[in-house]
Amino acid sequence: MRDEAGPGYGRLIQLLPLILLAPGLALVLLLFLYPLLRLIVESFLDPTPGFANYVTVLTDPTLWQIIETTLIISAQCTIATLVLAYPVSYLLSRLPRPRANLLMMFVLLPFWTSLLVRMYAWMVLLGRHGIINEAVIGMGLTATPYPLLYNRFAVIVGMSHFLLPFMVLSLYSTMIAIDRSLIEAASSMGSSFRQTFWRIYLPLSLPGVYSGCLLVFILGMGFYITPALLGSPRETTISVYIQQQIQQLNWGEGTAMAVILVAIVIALFASYDRLFGFDRLFRNVGPQS
């Protein structure tokens, strides 16, 4: 492998990033990993030493139902945001920089509104006598209001609304690096739009798709405000359930649930890795000889 630091620089420069990274790692270790491990140990000791908490939690059918619901909701949001974001990111990547920046600013604008406030705005919009229903009824399209709120639809809408910019940005950062000349070369050789897209553009955009989906899915797993406010009880997510345990001072059970949650996500992450390959994410994207 070529000496990337350039000729003449020694081992020290090679190690420099690692040295600089060390405090950051120490930070995470000290203020995150170590406390969590301590809490996990507690979950094996409180109230009595043993696996009691884990047994209780693992044999609770409600928990598994809730985990399943959470996974499904996250997956639905991931797909929804991908479908919404892909064309938008593509468009942004094709525009001249100033125009793209302007539109990107608009994409990020909703973040300046607190999540809670947005939730209440959705309630006003989606309610039985909310704006959408009033408009639809007023236009005579239907006689009875659509159930748009306090159900799965509202939760997906609310969560996707929050998660969309993450997907757009992930996709965009990869898409702007895709070399236009490849596309143009393909079409000049007679390739149709569909062929060019499927065989050239899509594969090149995949790193962005992977990291975007990963991010959105994991974020989706952690949502508790949106499902609680916009969903029916069937949209109870694992984070809500864990939070209930913690607030009811069942720290042993709550921690056990959190451990199981992390285990599940890590397992997903690992199989994602096996299916799509971590190396893909590490390999440089761009024209190779």
Binding site: G6, L21, L33, L103, A121, S173, P207
Partner: protein, 270 residues
């Protein structure tokens, strides 16, 4: 050729998505000017009372300033550490780096209540409760997953051959970094900064636990109000934040355009 049709469809699709993004914001703005006492749409009358509430109460202003300060520090730390981590992951992977990366991503997965409870005793030992730096550190850990993911994508985009070409032409490491690597990284850095800011900005649970109560952040204050009331003051605060964001972005854009126009006189830009 095949450009025209996809473009029109694309614009319509994008327009629909943007409408989706903006619609809740559009609700918030008129409500902030509501003369009524609760969340009604359309609002019954025009009034600036909620803005007066916000500007007249030093607690709101203090909370805002504190949140901004915290978020800016978090951006610096999270982007810095995240970039270093991404560099190591992409350029200098070693056995075990996958595990480290997983660990750095875990703050996303573990519910923040659990983290807060776990972290409390450590914070007590280090006397970090109620300290500014304590909140910054906690938020930084929460922001790292975002910055790492974005910077990893950013480093991947760099075509090594450009850097190698730069070395062959005699540039040193620092120079190459500044003139070749950094400009390519800039969009990712920008994105990472934005997400780090957001990750800190809306975070409430850690602040409740380790914030010490003496200093309240803006989202915490809004959270407390929203749990008991839906007071349009919140809408006023949100509208102000939106307005601020618009102005900030517009200014940044204007400065950039000016800079580019000036540079255009000296020859092609990137």
């Amino acid at each position: 050729m095949r450009r025209r049709l996809p473009n029109a469809l694309l614009w319509i699709y994008a327009g629909a998505v943007f409408a989706f993004l903006f619609v809740p914001l559009l609700i918030v703005v008129p409500v902030s000017f509501s003369a009524g006492m609760y969340l009604q749409f359309p609002p019954p009358g025009f009034s600036l009372q909620w803005y007066q509430d916000y500007f007249g109460d030093p607690q709101w202003i203090d909370a805002t300033i504190l949140s901004v300060e915290i978020a800016l520090c978090v951006v610096l730390l999270a982007v810095g550490i995240g970039s270093l981590a991404a560099f190591v992951i992409v350029r200098r992977p070693f056995p075990g780096i996958g595990f480290i990366r997983m660990v750095l991503m875990t703050p996303l997965i573990v519910p923040s209540v659990v983290v807060a409870v776990a972290v409390y005793s450590v914070y007590v030992s280090f006397h970090l409760i109620g300290s500014f730096i304590g909140i910054v550190l906690a938020h930084t850990i929460g922001a790292l997953p975002f910055t790492i993911v974005l910077m990893v994508a950013g480093f991947q985009r760099i075509d090594r051959r450009l850097e190698e070409a730069s070395y062959t032409m005699g540039a040193g490491a620092a120079s190459t970094f500044r003139r070749v690597t950094l400009p390519i990284l800039r969009p990712s850095l920008f994105a990472a900064a934005i997400f780090a800011f957001i990750a800190s900005w809306d975070e409430v649970i850690m602040v409740i636990f380790i914030g010490g109560g003496a200093g309240t952040t803006l989202p915490l204050r809004m959270f407390n109000y929203l749990r008991t009331e839906i007071n349009p003051t919140i809408a006023a605060v949100s509208t102000l934040l939106l307005a601020f964001a618009v102005v900030a972005f517009a200014t940044a854009e204007w400065l950039r355009v000016r800079g580019e126009a000036r540079r255009a006189g000296k020859g092609g830009a990137a």
